[in-house]
Symmetry: none
DNA sequence: TAAATTACTGCAATATATTGCAAATAATTG
DNA sequence: CAATTATTTGCAATATATTGCAGTAATTTA
């Protein structure tokens, strides 16, 4: 019996019964307990189940995809998030797209700040649910498995009906000449609708994404009001952006 | 029985009844009171409940967030979920409301079953996102902090535009004379819209909820096509329901 | 206050975890 | 295809964790 096969059996047991015992599985599959223990250790570090003394149990409800993957450049994203938070005033209505930087912003919103947040992002919504004073309004629609945000006509229709104070628009690529671009057509449509739905557009972006261009265009730079990077506003790398009418933070 | 399992049973009891007695749980799980005491001490330092003389009590609703929700699936809910899954055919479009039983159903949907799922429930959507073959469509709207589902006009409008094959409707109270009832007005509205949006209504409910009534009415029993409980369909407790035109599973 | 219940402590029996190692198996390479 | 290398597996020895019990201290209840 292959290792992968065994692990599949284990996962299946956990899915159905919520738990497995090392000894049971070992007997069932006629391998040593050590082998099962090693399998379960592997599955555990892969976050497929939870290893406990004597066996394993299902991860259950809180198995958010997002918590599994490590966030790239988290330090920089936290710095961006800290700056972003300062733009939000009590009582405002804001709109947050997806992406890890926006997740960081959502995470850092003070729990006592009274605001209304629209978002098409599932992880952002989950994050915001824990803030007692934040009203969360979900933009519905078909969920993209990749980006975990609602896409499609339904989401766009819903966005067409609102006008918020600030939009924190996740950035994929930004360039002085080509403006904002992205590689996923569906997400481009959503982002366009989000821009339309907002009085003020804030673009949080790690500096790596500056001066890069993707296939599909979202908008020109003049639609963006504020660009937030982890750099100081005076940094040389931002000089090209300083020259256009763009506030840097 | 695993320690982790025991602790989940304890947390589950605390969630349902707001309190537990060492002696009760010890007898229920056939372990010594000392063991339960130690478990509860651990859970107490983990801030999952409050240890008191003779037992433990719930921390209260303020701490009752998504992250702290316990995954322990009452064996009964798993049984209901297993039965419910058999009703779903490949290619169908289904609608799932919130609640822990429906979470269990979502969790147990086989990863290779190709279906389209509509849901206004944030946790259900998160759960379904991990199923590669399931298309998830989120019903948007204002999120209720208590139930973690989208409520309000926007959600209802979205439901008005669809007609799905099966709806798994979370049940709060069900009674032969009073039909389906609930205590939250907003949720009643959503559930009414869900019923309207479905060809077939399946009501999964643990037997504890049978023959109870809440303040607001959702619908009469004749709207329900199938009632699933953890009991055998022939069980005496279900005799009242057998007499009306209701399929039992 | 006395009786009853519950809490805490240390201990022993059992179960589980960890580690290093060698044999068996699978994958890679020349 | 044979030789080499890497991975997987089972075993044994040791370490750690869990559990129930008994004795005693603390708390509640009447």
């Amino acid at each position: 019996m292959l290792k992968a096969e065994r692990q599949q059996v284990i996962l299946n047991e956990v899915r159905i019964h919520n738990r497995v015992l090392f000894t049971d599985i070992a007997e069932l599959l006629s391998v040593s307990v050590d082998t099962i223990r090693r399998d379960i250790t592997e599955l555990s570090v892969a976050k497929k189940l939870k290893k406990v003394h004597g066996g394993a149990i299902s991860l259950g409800f809180n198995n958010y995809q997002l918590e599994n993957q490590e966030i790239y450049a988290l330090e920089n994203k936290s710095r961006i998030a800290r700056k972003a938070i300062t733009l939000i005033k009590s009582g405002q209505v804001i709109l947050i797209s997806g992406g890890t930087t926006n997740m960081e912003i959502a995470r850092m919103i003070p729990p006592n700040l009274k605001i209304t947040c629209f978002t098409p992002s599932l992880p952002v919504a989950v994050q915001l649910m824990s803030k007692a004073e934040v009203d969360v309004i979900l933009i519905g629609g078909k969920l993209s498995k990749d980006s975990q945000i609602a896409i499609g006509g339904c989401a766009i229709n819903m966005l067409n009906d609102i006008k918020v104070d600030i939009c924190f628009l996740g950035i994929n690529s930004i360039d002085v000449n080509n403006g904002l671009t992205d590689f996923d057509w569906d997400i481009v449509q959503i982002k366009k609708a989000m821009i339309q739905a907002s009085k003020k557009i804030v673009a949080p972006s790690i500096s790596e994404k500056l001066n890069s261009t993707q296939r599909f265009k979202i908008c020109d730079l003049d639609k963006i009001d504020v660009l937030i990077t982890e750099l100081e506003p005076e940094d040389d790398k931002l000089s090209a952006f300083r020259e256009v009418n763009l506030k840097l933070l």
